[in-house]
Amino acid sequence: MMDINTQTAFEANIPSAATRYKENLRKNWYKFSRNKLSVIGLVIVLAVVVVAVFAPYVAPFPEHAGSFVDYEHANLAPSTTYLLGTDNIGRDILSRIFFAFRGALYMAFLVLVISLPVGVILGLLAGYFKGTWIDTVIMRTTDIFLAVPPLILALAISSVLKPNLTNAMIAVTVMWWPWYTRLVYGMATSMRNEYFVTAAELIGAGKFHILFREILPNCLSPIFTKMALDVGWVILLGAALSFVGLGEQPPTPALGQMVSDGSRYMPDLWWMTIFPSLAIIIIILGFNLLGDGIRDMLAKGEHDRG
């Protein structure tokens, strides 16, 4: 930057795409990893993902996640064979937790993948067109969906559709998007007054460019943070849904269901509740810490110089 006056050897100074990529990666990792908790979060999430993907190989009793009963070994306290004990069907809780990670991640993933674009696009539109009928229609609709108690809405939807994981997810999705709409709306309304948006408009850029290239990238940090937090909420909501008979169907294990089923046997068979609860806590903790890290990573500002 010192070379305002000496304009020689320009080409040589432009970093190649690969270097830039590496440089970027290094910088982002640096920002991300400065807070050690974020790294812990990443490790947890990766571990959960790995365990979920390779559940059949890492679980001590993979068959216990399927149609399996062994009433001989029911209700066993944690031991060396069954590290976290067995449930009232005689299934290894550890193995079931491993397999339950699959559904939890799958559900969180799908819910967010569907509700995120819907919510974000509506939020962007409403925010950018604040004060017009588009804004009114979108935001009032959002209010309506926010006003319906989520469990009741989910129940209504799943009583129309077959009670299974996919439909439970549809139900959850239907009530999830308004939150993103609200979030993005707030940001987009303030963003649309930024001069860089105006500048793009004056250059003649189209609405699509403005919404998705100018405004959206600047909303990503809070969106990602919320997403990381939401993973936990979705899992919890899945648990509540399974309490009323929706969601993952037995014998496929689901964390929320394990917790709620196990809670009937508290405190005598405490391992049936406590360990799945801990598993939920760990996932949520992991994603939250990861979310914090992502926020740090996406944070822009003068500290970026480092």
Binding site: S67, F68, V69, Y71, E72, A74, N75, N88, I89, S159, P163, S242, V244, G245, Q249, P250, P251, D261, S263, R264, Y265, M266, D268, L269
Partner: protein
């Protein structure tokens, strides 16, 4: 009618003052529906037994005792029945019970057609008061168990009900008092309703002028609480805020309850059974060989030994102690070879993976899941894929309304409505009872229908029972159901209450299998010191 106000209030006042200590509190899966023309579930049946009186009373040994009726006389052809009523029986408001009240109650039952009304609506043609204490019922057709069904005819005070009638769809009768009876009673039974808290409990207090009189130590009040949540029940029992639990506690929970000092477990056969109903109208369970394959592969032994210790492996569609039971029925036993052989004969043999079997278990009864899982695991041995669906009770009730929506298999407890095999056969397998939760099979067999009807119109008891036994054999052959076990209902209760049913059970004597009458609190005692 008459001067009801004073009497009623006095009685209530007394009971409230004294009622605090001497109370029996019991949980049930629902809050009672105390209109006898409407309710029919377990909790409601308990409430009816205590609040209302019937013409005859089901004794523990299975016989029918004279009750409001001192004696009765059927006509030769069995179509006309005349009952002589007990005199001087008082309703809770002080009115005297007369033949008009009986007629009114019967007509109300028939007109509403809800709850237990079906027992009479196709049976009774006319009810007539011959004089103040004499009633005559005329039947449409011969009906053998008519007397047995009368345990569901609860007598209401006509004047009191009519005084509280509102506009409604029943012509002269308005709403037939339905609105009022939701939270009030018009009965003559040993207890009278004090408070019905929707979703919470029913509280009733002792009716001092009960015609049957009172013994020392009988509970001053009863409370039926509508919850079965394990931790809640357990906490209540620990704190001695509950005397008697429901029968839906899991084995694990029962074990924990048993560990509480001063709490015992009562186990007794009261007529109810656990069945896996197989829908005979949808694939693949519409194929008898397929059904038989399932019946042969199921591991009954594990169930009665590991899952529900104390229960007895079922023998056919009727519980072993119900009059009319066939002790010589062939039984399905777990036998993999036979199962495979049956499956081979079924039309779905080659394409099992295209025909998964849905099995539903009731969300409120967690132990049923174990059955479902076992069923799934067993079926897997034959290569049959089973989906387990946890369904809340009322959704299940809704589902079985049509054959298409009824699941392939449903794990359901069933119990007779009156003390005879015929009750079970009719409510389980007659075409009239399709669409109700009691028949997930959709059997719709005109032959069985005819057989059941024929048996029911048979007046001679032995002849009737023989016919029942024949039907049971046919049913076993059709295999519409996997009859899993005869349930020993288990309940925890506080040792400081004296519960006649529990004592009989302990002695190995039979207990009333008419739903609700094991909880006739008038006969209970409460120890003065807890």
């Amino acid at each position: 009618g008459g001067n009801q106000e004073n009497n009623n209030q006095d009685a209530q006042g007394d009971a409230t003052a004294a009622g605090q200590e001497s109370i029996i509190r019991s949980t049930a899966s629902d809050v009672p529906n105390i209109d006898p023309g409407v309710g029919s579930d377990y909790a409601s049946s308990i409430a009816f037994a205590n609040i209302y009186d019937t013409l005859v009373f089901p004794a523990h040994d299975g016989s029918l005792k004279p009750w409001l009726a001192t004696d009765w006389q059927p006509s030769e052809d069995g179509l006309t029945w005349v009952f002589n009523l007990r005199q001087g029986v008082k309703f809770h408001n002080g009115d005297e019970l007369t033949a008009d009240d009986v007629v009114f109650s019967m007509q109300r039952m028939i007109t509403l057609g809800e709850g237990y009304g079906y027992l009479f609506s196709n049976v009774v043609k006319e009810a007539k008061a011959l004089d103040q204490y004499k009633v005559q019922f005329t039947l449409n057709k011969k009906f053998g168990p008519f007397l047995s069904t009368l345990v569901r005819l609860y007598i209401l005070d006509q004047d009191q009900v009519m005084a509280n009638v509102q506009q409604g769809p029943y012509g002269d009768m308005g709403d037939y008092g339905k609105d009022w009876l939701v939270s009030n009673d018009a009965g003559s039974g040993p207890y009278m309703v004090k408070e019905l808290k929707k979703q919470e409990y029913l509280q009733a207090v002792k009716f001092n002028d009960f015609w049957g009189g009172w013994e020392e130590g009988a509970p001053e009040a009863i409370k039926i609480i509508g919850t079965t949540a394990g931790p809640t029940v357990r906490t209540l029992m620990t704190r001695q805020e509950l005397e008697q639990t429901d029968q839906w506690q899991t084995e694990e929970a029962l074990k924990a309850l048993d560990d509480i000092s001063g709490v015992s477990i009562d186990a007794g056969f009261t007529g109810s059974m656990l069945n896996i109903m197989l829908n005979t109208k949808i694939a693949p369970t519409d194929d008898v060989h397929f059904r038989k394959a399932l019946a042969y592969v199921f591991d009954y032994q594990t169930v009665v030994e590991k899952l529900f210790p104390g229960c007895k492996k079922a023998q056919g569609p009727v519980q072993f102690n119900l009059p009319g039971f066939n002790p010589n029925l062939p039984q399905y036993e777990r036998n993999l070879d036979k199962a495979k052989a049956e499956l081979a004969q079924s039309k779905y043999a080659g394409e099992l993976d295209q025909y998964p079997v849905d099995i539903v278990w009731i969300a409120q009864v967690p132990d049923e899941e174990k059955i479902a899982l076992l069923f799934q695991a067993n079926a897997a041995e034959l290569g049959i894929k089973v989906n387990i669906v946890k369904t809340p009770w009322l959704s299940f009730v809704d589902q079985v309304a049509t054959p298409e929506n009824t699941p392939n298999a449903s794990v359901v407890f069933v119990a007779p409505h009156y003390n005879e095999a015929g009750s079970m056969l009719e409510s389980r397998y007659h075409s009239n009872s399709t669409g109700t939760w009691e028949q997930g099979e959709w059997l719709k067999s005109s032959e069985i229908d005819a057989d059941i009807e024929d048996a029911l119109v048979t007046l001679d008891e032995n002849e009737r029972y023989a016919k029942y036994q024949k039907i049971q054999e046919k049913l076993v052959d059709l295999c519409p159901t996997i009859w899993v076990f005869d349930q020993a209902e288990k309940r925890a209760f506080q040792d400081y209450i004296q519960w006649p049913g529990a004592e009989l059970n302990k002695e190995g004597k039979p207990v009333s299998s008419v739903m609700g009458y094991n909880f006739y609190y008038h006969d209970y005692k409460i120890a003065t010191q807890k």
